[in-house]
């Protein structure tokens, strides 16, 4: 495939990234989607809005977070010099808060008083509940019943923050189903409610807007690696569910041809098992939740259930810009199984004293695979998108370790 002059100008005015993206929503929502787009376009051109965004990122989220040279992982993997972008050190423990700060400021500009969100692992739900507490807005979070069971600590955090967590029991009761119910709520409450989508998916302008807010990750990495090494990195590695932490890291580097960019999908029990969440590796283009993108689906166009040990990656789709970056060939997409992610989770914890989220462990696992094949002067940045405290029950169960005792529910 021939390369483009730039990969950073999308989407077009209709919200399309090539074949992907768009605004596939019910007519009831269409005027509201257009209003969100108009409000966002005005906000991003307003220096006051950008100042406000950066004020909260600095003083509340704790940015910039470090780009940390992981000496012991570098040594263990025996090749590339590995840096970890420490999104786990953000307030609320993951990259999700970056986007929530941006969108809550937009919702306030639009005069909305009620916020709804969907969540898988609960990280986005916690981040949304957090900004709603901060600004005194009503908050309803839709979460699959399956995820509520495996992410109990985050559910309680949301409740403490004043959010109402509504369990979703349709389908397999995970992230996809939570998004369906959030959309149903939005259709019924269009006037009062702002839908704070947590990833680079959904109808235009969400994929571009969430990317823009998360791009603070890549912009910081650019400055930090130049300060540390005097040059750009040679490779970037990030895990992908919907793909917001990855888009945030990748986007500022898309036009730097020397930078190899790798997105890591969740292969669950393996791509051949039929139980995975790798939309790019195992899906084909389709339309769901407001956009066209690669989806896990059968021949009839029925959406299939995803599987991953990581609730945050357990989604049968992926942000439309990733679908486009895959088809243009600019970004490589690979996949990592549950077992590989678990091994990386333990290795990072033991060697660096950092407990990574299971989502981020997928990126670490792929880095572990390729770092040894690369020279010692190869600079690799892995996005440590969140901390793994929320995952200790899941990990204990997967490892057959009963140390957690009654906490393992």
């Amino acid at each position: 495939m021939h390369s483009l002059n730039t990969y950073r100008t999308g989407p077009d005015e209709r919200g399309h990234f090539g074949l992907f993206g768009g605004r596939y929503v019910a007519e009831t929502l269409m005027p509201l989607i257009l209003e969100v787009e108009k409000a966002y376009n005005a906000a991003k051109a307003d220096p006051h809005f950008l100042d406000e965004f950066h004020y909260w990122l600095t003083n509340y989220v704790g940015r910039p977070n470090p780009l940390y040279h992981a000496r012991r992982l570098t040594e263990a993997w025996g090749g590339a010099k590995v840096y970890l972008k420490r999104e786990d050190l953000n307030h609320t423990g993951a990259h999700k808060i970056n986007n929530c700060i941006g969108q809550i400021l937009l919702a306030r500009r639009m005069g909305k008083k009620r916020i709804i969100a969907e969540t898988g692992a609960g990280q986005h739900g916690v981040a949304t509940a957090t900004v709603c507490a901060l600004f005194g807005l009503d908050c309803v979070v839709y979460m699959g019943a399956t995820d509520i069971a495996r992410q109990a600590p985050n559910v309680y955090r949301m409740k403490l923050l004043g959010a109402e967590v509504r369990p979703v029991t349709s389908g397999r009761a995970t992230l996809k189903d939570a998004m369906n119910d959030a959309l149903r709520d939005w259709v019924a409450n269009v006037d009062s409610t702002y839908y704070l989508i947590g990833t680079v998916a959904g109808p235009h302008p969400y994929p571009a807007m969430v990317r823009d807010f998360q791009s603070v990750i890549g912009k910081e990495v650019r400055k930090q690696i130049i300060a540390a090494e005097g040059r750009l990195p040679d490779s970037l590695v990030a895990a992908i569910g919907g793909g917001s932490n990855a888009m945030g890291l990748f986007h500022p580097f898309l036009d730097d041809r020397s930078v190899r960019i790798i997105g890591v999908e969740a292969a669950g029990h393996g791509l051949d098992s039929g139980e995975h969440a790798a939309s790019l590796a195992g899906g084909r283009p389709g339309v769901l939740h407001g956009n066209r993108t690669y989806l896990l689906q059968d021949a009839d166009g029925q959406i299939q259930e995803a599987h991953s040990i990581s609730a945050g990656l357990d989604y049968p789709g992926i942000g439309p810009e990733h679908s486009w970056l895959r088809d243009t060939g600019r970004v490589e997409y690979v996949s990592i199984t549950d077992d590989e992610a678990l091994a990386a989770f333990q290795q990072c914890t033991r060697l660096e004293g950092i407990i990574p989220a299971l989502e981020s462990s997928h990126a670490l696992a792929h880095a572990a695979k390729i770092a040894g094949t690369l020279p010692k002067d190869h600079l690799m940045v892995v996005n440590l998108s969140g901390r793994g405290d929320k995952d200790v029950n899941t990990v204990a169960r997967a490892l057959g370790d009963d140390t957690m005792g009654g906490l393992v529910g």
Binding site: E27, R184, V190
Partner: protein, 278 residues
């Protein structure tokens, strides 16, 4: 003239609005669903909406979500939906059939090839909830080339600025979703519906059918006084669910359709009398 246009012309001559009924293909199973579909015209349905089963019915409430679940469990698919329409057409050459569902199964089939197959099966119209005017270009030319009306949805959020975009490409009829919400939940007031229908009529001369939240013959009669068609879905689908596996699995939903049809006819008869008295 298309079947939809011919049907509205006939109803206009009779001075009554259309009863538009919705059931889901393959709910609760193929044989029962086919028997219900085949029985709808005799029970009083003037236009038949036939739901395409889909895993993620984002605009639907509990009744139709459950129907989709039952239909998929019974092997329902878009292909089977067309086969059932073709069977229906063997016995009924006149009653318009409108498929209603979500875009992905159609996209997976391929819009051009699907529209050809749908026309061949006897489909007259298509309602795809998540294919708004902004994205419809990829399907509309193929629907038109095959004589299929693409039915656009208007809603309480479609204001005068928005309506020209929505009805500009419409044919067949215009569907007014009378509430902001999902199927089978709240109901709009008669006054709100009347105002909205009047607003839509300023932008189109097509018939306007009103749906969402209409459950009883009384509600249907109210809406019948102001609209060209009354759409009832969730209530019939609930009757399918409540009687699945019983001796009344076909007759109970059809009895409800008969009651709805009687309500609508009575409404217009009394409405005309009232108008004549004034």
């Amino acid at each position: 003239m298309s079947r939809i246009a011919a049907r509205f012309a006939k109803l206009a001559a009779e001075g009554r609005p259309a009863l538009v009924t919705y059931v889901m293909a393959c709910d609760p199973d193929r044989a029962t669903s086919q028997a219900i579909l085949d029985g709808l015209p005799a029970a009083g349905a003037d236009i038949v909406e036939f739901g395409i089963p889909f895993t993620d019915p984002m605009a639907d409430g509990a009744a139709i979500q459950s129907a989709a679940g039952r239909a998929l469990a019974a092997g329902g698919s878009l292909r089977l939906t067309l086969e059932m329409v073709a069977r229906f057409r063997e016995r009924d050459a006149d009653t318009p059939v409108v498929l209603m569902g979500y875009y992905n199964p159609v996209y997976a089939w391929g819009p051009e090839s699907f529209c050809r197959a749908a026309a061949a099966a006897g489909v007259d119209g298509l309602i795809l909830v998540d294919l708004p005017p902004e994205e419809v270009d990829e399907l509309l030319p193929h629907a038109r080339a095959n004589g299929i009306d693409f039915i656009f949805l208007t809603t309480p959020t479609s204001d005068d600025a928005r309506l020209p975009t929505v009805v500009g490409n419409a044919s067949g009829f215009v569907y007014y979703v009378s509430i902001t919400g999902i199927t089978g939940t709240r109901s709009a007031s008669r006054q709100a519906i009347e105002e909205a229908v009047a607003r839509i009529r300023r932008h189109t001369s097509l018939p306007v059918c009103v749906g969402f939240g209409i459950k009883t013959p009384e509600q249907a009669a109210e809406v019948a006084r102001v609209a060209d068609g009354v759409v009832v879905g969730s209530a019939i689908v609930q009757a399918v669910a409540d009687n699945a596996g019983t001796a009344a699995s076909v007759s109970a939903p059809l009895d409800l359709v008969r009651a709805l049809a009687a309500g609508i006819r009575a409404a217009r008869a009394s409405g005309r009398t009232a108008a004549a008295a004034v």
